[in-house]
C-alpha cells in the first residue's frame, strides 16, 4: 500500500442531495485514489433539514456506479435484525464485487430509539449485550454457506451441494437465529468490519479499528484509522473562516479537527502517518464542498510527499486494506468436531 489508507466520510448535505451529485463525488474520490467511502446512517430526524437516504441504499447505487472504491456503511444493531443486516451487507458485497464494509454504531441514541419501539422490543433495553452479540453472529451467518456451495450443474440438475450449507442455531443472550442465511457467502468472505478502538467488546470482533486523537493512538494488531475533520482552503485564513462559520467545532476524543492550507493539512496528516501507529484516516468531510477541496488541494500534496498513490486501488476492500479473506468459521468448527469424534 502506498501511503495511508484514506476513507472519505461524505457530508450529509451532499448525501441528502440529488443522486447525480453523490455519484459524481464518489467517482472523483475513486479516481483520486481514495480507498473507501464511509456513509453515515442515523435513523432519527435532523432539525430543520432532511437526512440522507439510508446508507445501504445509497451504497447499493454507488456499488453499480463506481468500480473500485470501498463502500462502508454505518448500521446500529439496535435498529435492525441480524438476519436482515447480514443479508444487506452480503448483498452489497456481492453487488459491489467485494467492496462492502460495516462500521458498527453502538452509542445510545434516545431519538432513534423513540422511532423503533415494538411490542416485543425496546432498543434501549439490551443495547450493549445485543451490540456485542451482533458482529460474531453476522460472521457466522455469512459462513452458513461455504464458498462454492452453489454448484449450478446444468447437466446433472444439481443446483447446490447440501454438504456445504449449514444450519447455525444461534441461541445467545439476546438473539436467536437458526439460519442458514438465504444467500451465497460474500465475495470477501465477510464484509470488512470497522469498530471504535475505544470499545473493547466491539474492537475484539473488528477487522479495522477507528480512533480519535491521533497523538494518543495506541498500536493495534490490525489496521488503525484516525478520524480527522479537515477544514481546508487555498489559504490558512480562508480555512479558519470555514471552520469558524461551521461553529468552530473543537477536536475531541473521537475526532481531530484540522484547519489549514493544503500544505499544512497534508503535512500534519503525513506526520501522523509517519510518527503514530495510525495506518490511515477517516476524513469526516464537514461541508458540501469539502470532498472536492480535499481531493483537489490536499491529495496532490500527499502525493508529492509519497503519501498517496493517486491512482484508484484494485481488488476487494480487504485486499486494499491488506486484510486476509477469512476462513469459514462454521466449516472449521465442524472439521474440529469431526476430528475429535474420529
Amino acid at each position: 500500500m502506498t501511503g495511508p489508507v484514506l476513507v472519505y466520510q461524505l457530508p450529509e448535505e451532499l448525501l441528502a442531495g440529488p443522486a447525480a451529485g453523490i455519484v459524481a463525488a464518489a467517482g472523483q474520490a475513486e479516481d483520486a485514489g481514495v480507498h473507501a467511502l464511509l456513509l453515515g446512517d442515523r435513523p432519527a430526524a435532523r432539525p430543520g433539514r432532511a437526512a440522507p437516504p439510508a446508507a445501504v441504499v445509497t451504497a447499493s447505487m454507488l456499488a453499480v456506479r463506481t468500480r473500485r472504491i470501498g463502500l462502508v456503511v454505518d448500521a446500529a444493531p439496535a435498529y435492525c435484525e441480524p438476519y436482515n443486516l447480514a443479508r444487506m451487507l452480503a448483498s452489497l458485497d456481492h453487488i459491489s464485487g467485494g467492496r462492502a464494509g460495516w462500521r458498527m454504531a453502538a452509542g445510545p441514541d434516545p431519538e432513534a430509539d423513540a422511532n423503533h419501539h415494538r411490542e416485543d422490543y425496546d432498543p434501549a433495553g439490551a443495547r450493549e449485550a445485543r451490540t456485542v452479540e451482533f458482529p460474531p453472529l453476522l460472521r457466522d451467518l455469512w459462513d452458513t454457506w461455504e464458498d462454492g456451495a452453489f454448484v449450478h450443474e446444468k447437466d446433472t440438475g444439481r443446483f447446490i451441494d447440501p454438504d456445504r450449507v449449514h444450519v447455525l442455531d444461534h441461541v445467545g443472550p439476546t438473539l436467536q437465529v437458526r439460519g442458514p442465511l438465504n444467500l451465497a457467502r460474500p465475495p470477501q468472505g465477510h464484509p470488512v468490519m470497522l469498530a471504535p478502538a475505544g470499545e473493547p467488546l466491539l474492537a475484539a470482533e473488528a477487522d479495522v479499528l477507528v480512533t480519535g486523537a491521533p497523538e494518543r493512538a495506541v498500536a493495534a494488531d490490525r489496521p488503525l484509522l484516525g478520524t480527522v475533520t479537515p477544514f481546508v482552503a487555498e489559504t490558512a485564513e480562508r480555512a479558519r473562516e470555514l471552520h469558524a462559520a461551521a461553529g468552530a467545532p473543537p477536536s475531541d476524543e473521537g475526532n481531530a479537527v484540522l484547519t489549514g492550507d493544503p500544505v499544512q493539512v497534508a503535512g500534519q496528516l503525513a506526520a501522523w502517518a509517519d510518527r503514530t501507529p495510525l495506518d490511515g484516516f477517516v476524513l469526516r468531510l464537514p461541508l458540501p464542498g469539502s470532498a472536492e477541496a480535499f481531493t483537489d488541494l490536499v491529495l496532490p500534496e500527499l502525493r508529492a510527499a509519497g503519501h498517496c498513490s493517486g491512482a484508484p486501488g484494485a481488488g476487494t476492500l480487504r485486499e486494499q486494506l491488506g486484510l486476509a479473506r477469512p476462513a469459514n468459521r462454521i466449516a472449521a468448527r465442524l472439521a474440529t468436531a469431526g476430528a475429535k469424534r474420529s
Binding site: A45, P53, V56, V57, Y83, F150, H152, G157, I160, R178
Partner: protein
C-alpha cells in the same frame, strides 16, 4: 388505447420461475448474483415499456428445495437489488417485497423512501406477511404467527408507514412533524428523517390469499398481486371480490389486480409446446414415497411431490411404476377423480395432448401437473399468448400481469420481442412511457399529506 391501460410487470427469479428453468441452454445458471445480468434483464423490460420489475423475497432458505423450487433457496436482498436496477434504468418501476412481520415500520418507511428518492419516484412496496413458517426461527420467534396476528401487525405497520411518509420534511427541510404513534404494537415518535418520497407515498402492492389479505389489499393497496386460481369462475370471483371490497372504501378505480402469468412462447405453437416439454423434461423428480405420506412442498406449506405416487393421489388412479414417456391408457384416464379431470383439461391446454389422441397424454404429463402451480401458464405462439392476455384483460379477470419468465434471460427476450409488439399493435399496451414515476405508469396521483 382502450380506456383502461394494461399493466405489465416482470417477476425476476434468478433461476427462472420454472423449477428447471436454470438448466435451459438459454438460461444463466447463476443469475442470482450477477447484477449486470439483472440490470440487463431490467433494461430489456424497460425497452418493452413494462411498468415495473418485481422482486419477491423470502426470509429463510431451504436447501431441500433444490430440485422442486431452487428459487426459494437464495437471492440478493431486494432493497439493494432494486437500487442497483434503478441505477441502470430511467423509467421502469422497482418493486421490493418486504415482510412487516420481521421488521419495524420506521425501517420500512425509511428504506422505501430512500429507494424512491434515489430512483426519482419509481419505488413500490410489495407487502406480504410471509409464506415461510421457517422465517420465524431466523428472527428469534418460536412459531409462525397466525393469520390474524400477522395482519393486525401488518395493518398497523401500514398506518405508521403512511403517517411517517406524511410526517417527513420536504427536501428543503421544511414541514416535518412528529407523529407520536402509540399503537397496539408500535410506539414511534417520528418524523421520518429522510425527505418525503417523490411519489408522496411509495406505491403499495399486496400479495396474499386469506380474507384478511383481500381486505387489506382492497382498502390500502394500489396493486393486488394475485395468485393462481383453478378455474375461470374462480378468477372472475376473485377479481370481482377485490373490486367490490375496494368500492366499499371508495377505491374501486384505485386498485389494479395483476395475476402472475408464465408465458411459454415461441414463433410457432409446435415450438412453444416443444419448449414446454423440454423444460419439464429437465426437472429432477422427487423420490417416490408411501401413498398417504404428508410431504412438504417446501416453504409454501404442505403439498404434492413431483412423482407418480403423488400423481396417483391427485388423479385418483394408481399410476405407479409406469414409464413416464408412455401414453396413459384411455380407460385409466376415464377413471380419474373430478380434480383429476380438471387437471387433464389443463394438461391438454398446455401440451395439446389429449386423452384419445393422436398425441396422447403421458404419465410424465400427470407428474408435471401434480405439484401446485406457481402461476397460470400459457403455451403458444405469439398470437395465442396475446389473445389470452387480451381476453383476461377485457373479460374482468385482470388489469394486467406480472410476467414470470420461465428462465432468464431467454424467456424475457421471447416475451418482449414476440408478444409485447402485438399488444402494442392491438392498442392494449403503451408504446412509450407517458411519465417518469411508477405512479405515472399506473395512472395514480400523488397522495396529499
Amino acid at each position: 388505447m382502450s380506456e383502461r391501460d394494461l399493466h405489465l410487470g416482470l417477476m425476476f427469479w434468478a433461476t427462472g420461475t420454472h423449477a428447471a428453468g436454470w438448466r435451459h441452454p438459454d438460461a444463466a445458471a447463476d443469475a442470482a448474483y450477477d447484477i449486470g445480468l439483472i440490470q440487463e434483464v431490467s433494461r430489456e423490460a424497460e425497452r418493452a415499456k413494462f411498468d415495473f420489475v418485481f422482486l419477491g423475497d423470502r426470509l429463510a432458505s431451504d436447501p431441500a428445495l433444490q430440485h422442486s423450487n431452487p428459487a426459494q433457496i437464495s437471492r440478493l436482498e431486494p432493497y439493494s437489488t432494486a437500487m442497483a436496477i434503478a441505477a441502470a434504468t430511467s423509467h421502469i418501476g422497482v418493486v421490493v417485497t418486504a415482510n412487516p412481520t420481521y421488521s419495524d415500520p420506521y425501517s420500512i418507511a425509511r428504506l422505501l423512501a430512500s429507494l424512491d428518492h434515489l430512483s426519482d419516484g419509481r419505488a413500490a412496496w410489495n407487502l406480504v406477511t410471509g409464506a415461510d413458517p421457517a422465517a420465524a426461527h431466523n428472527f428469534g420467534r418460536d412459531a409462525h404467527w397466525n393469520t390474524s396476528r400477522r395482519y393486525d401487525w401488518a395493518e398497523e405497520t401500514l398506518r405508521v408507514v403512511g403517517a411517517l411518509w406524511d410526517s417527513a420534511p420536504e427536501p428543503d427541510g421544511s414541514g416535518a412533524r412528529r407523529i407520536e404513534h402509540r399503537g397496539e404494537f408500535f410506539s414511534v415518535d417520528g418524523p421520518l428523517d429522510v425527505a418525503r418520497p417523490p411519489q408522496g407515498h411509495v406505491v403499495v402492492f399486496n400479495a396474499g390469499t386469506s380474507d384478511r389479505a383481500r381486505e387489506l389489499g382492497a382498502r390500502s393497496a394500489d396493486v393486488v398481486f394475485a395468485g393462481p386460481q383453478p378455474t375461470l369462475a374462480a378468477r372472475r370471483e376473485y377479481y370481482a371480490d377485490i373490486k367490490a371490497r375496494a368500492a366499499r372504501y371508495g377505491r374501486a378505480d384505485h386498485v389494479a389486480v395483476l395475476p402472475g402469468l408464465t408465458p411459454i412462447v415461441a414463433p410457432t405453437t409446435a415450438e412453444a409446446v416443444a419448449l414446454h416439454d423440454r423444460l419439464n423434461a429437465l426437472l429432477v423428480l422427487d423420490p417416490e414415497q408411501e401413498i398417504g405420506d404428508i410431504v412438504r412442498a417446501g416453504g409454501i406449506g404442505e403439498g404434492h411431490r413431483r412423482n407418480l405416487t403423488s400423481a396417483s393421489e391427485v388423479f385418483g388412479v394408481d399410476v405407479r411404476g409406469n414409464d413416464l414417456a408412455a401414453a396413459v391408457p384411455a380407460d385409466t384416464l376415464a377413471a380419474v377423480s373430478e380434480e383429476g379431470a380438471r387437471r387433464l383439461a389443463e394438461i391438454t391446454r398446455l401440451t395439446r395432448r389429449t386423452v384419445d389422441g393422436p398425441d396422447r397424454i403421458t404419465y410424465g404429463d400427470l407428474v408435471h401437473a401434480t405439484p401446485a402451480q406457481l402461476s397460470h401458464t400459457v403455451v403458444g405462439n405469439p398470437e395465442e399468448v396475446a389473445d389470452m392476455i387480451q381476453e383476461w384483460f377485457e373479460e374482468g379477470v385482470a388489469d394486467g400481469f406480472n410476467i414470470y419468465p420461465a428462465y432468464v434471460p431467454g424467456a424475457v427476450t421471447a416475451f418482449t420481442e414476440l408478444v409485447v409488439p402485438l399488444l402494442q399493435q392491438r392498442g392494449l399496451f403503451r408504446k412509450e412511457y407517458g411519465g417518469r414515476t411508477l405512479r405515472d405508469h399506473l395512472g395514480m396521483a400523488v397522495p396529499k399529506r
